[in-house]
């Protein structure tokens, strides 16, 4: 029997994660977003696991810079670290990883933020084994380094993909047509 106790579940997450979170928001009626420092991520994941949010639906990476303002990124990151900008979205110079845990209709998202320069995350594979694929995707698509994840090979990109090029970052503009076609004729 599937029960949807949206409100109760949301309350539960909120109270349990209260001491770890920097802040939280309730963007939609079935969602809660909890902003965490990267160091607290694993702990938070374990709490989610224990409360029945064992279903990790996906991990989304987001690059918040628009491609124009990457110059300011360190400054912006500074503001985040200093707590000036802790909620909301749409500020620049920040990479963010979103861990979507689901239970019934509720989506609880753990959000951790990093600067562009040296993004680092702990792996949650110890808690949620199925995170492995998504963490690999984060690594190759956004260049976030996850030191203790079990497998670090490429997942989607070819093996001869250039090092240091991360296609889903905003500053990646593609290789342009000639390169791809030239490669094809080789």
């Amino acid at each position: 029997m599937i029960v949807t106790q949206t409100e109760e579940n949301l309350e539960e997450v909120q109270t349990l994660l209260a001491q770890l979170a920097i802040a939280y928001t309730r963007p939609e009626e079935n969602r809660i977003d909890v902003i965490l420092p990267p160091a607290k991520l694993v702990e938070a994941a374990r709490i989610m696991e224990d409360t029945g949010f064992w279903y990790l639906s996906a991990i989304t990476g987001v690059d918040h810079s628009s491609s124009a303002d990457t110059t300011n990124e360190e400054k912006a990151w500074q503001r985040v670290v200093e707590g000036e900008e802790q909620t909301g979205f749409g500020y620049s110079g920040v990479l963010e990883a979103l861990y979507h845990f689901c239970k019934g209709s509720v989506v609880a998202t753990l959000r951790v933020r990093m600067g562009h320069a040296n993004p680092n995350l702990p792996s949650i594979c110890g808690v949620v084994p199925s995170a492995s694929l998504y963490e690999r995707e984060l690594m190759e698509m956004f260049g976030i380094s996850i030191e203790d994840t079990p497998v670090k090979d490429h997942l989607l990109l070819p093996d001869d993909w250039p090092v240091g090029v991360y296609p889903l970052r905003k500053d990646f503009k593609g290789f342009g047509q000639p390169e791809v076609e030239g490669g094809a004729n080789a």
Binding site: L157, P158, P167, E181, G183, N185
Partner: protein
């Protein structure tokens, strides 16, 4: 001595006849969305039954005459596509199915694709559509077979429909 010559001509005709009536195919997915692939598979099923034209899907490139290729050719698929093509014995033909196999279609300009099969290997027939209906695929293949026909007999054999598209003359749509 005319006889050997006549014999030779007959032999050539026989070979052509056999080639046209027994095109075995191999199917290669080079990054397509599966749409074209399921339509290709559908052409083998009772509704369309390509076996009645002698077409069989083969597993090994060594046994195939026709490479049916779908998708815009991703970076990873490129090598394997070339290898498959090289493994096929001559004479061999390539059919590019689907808009994205011809030009990249909706994926044109994506960073991981080569925008079309003919950027990688030579293509003999292009079948646009997204995906083309199974009938349209059959039509494309019959175009290929027709082109193998010696010119004098090209018309009335096999009851294959001729291409209704004539050059680039603009036409009005029906129903206007």
């Amino acid at each position: 001595m005319d006889l050997p010559k006549a014999w030779e001509a007959a032999l050539v005709d026989l070979k052509t006849w056999a080639r046209i009536n027994s095109p075995w195919a191999i199917h290669f997915n080079s990054g397509s969305c599966n749409g074209c692939d399921i339509e290709i598979l559908a052409t083998l099923t009772p509704r369309y039954d390509l076996e009645r034209l002698g077409i069989k899907l083969q597993g090994s490139p060594r046994h195939a005459d026709v490479l049916i290729c779908t998708g815009p050719v991703t970076r990873q698929a490129r090598e394997r596509l070339i290898r498959t093509y090289e493994q096929m014995p001559d004479p061999k033909f390539v059919v590019a199915v689907g808009s994205c196999g011809i030009t990249g279609g909706a994926f044109e300009g994506c960073y991981n694709v080569a925008n079309g099969v003919d950027k990688v290997i030579p293509v003999d027939v292009y079948i646009p559509g997204c995906p083309p209906r199974p009938e349209a695929i059959i039509f494309g293949v019959s175009q290929l077979l027709q082109s193998l026909q010696p010119p004098k007999k090209a018309k009335n054999r096999n009851a294959i429909v001729t291409n209704p598209i004539t050059g680039s003359t603009p036409k009005k749509g029906v129903g206007e």
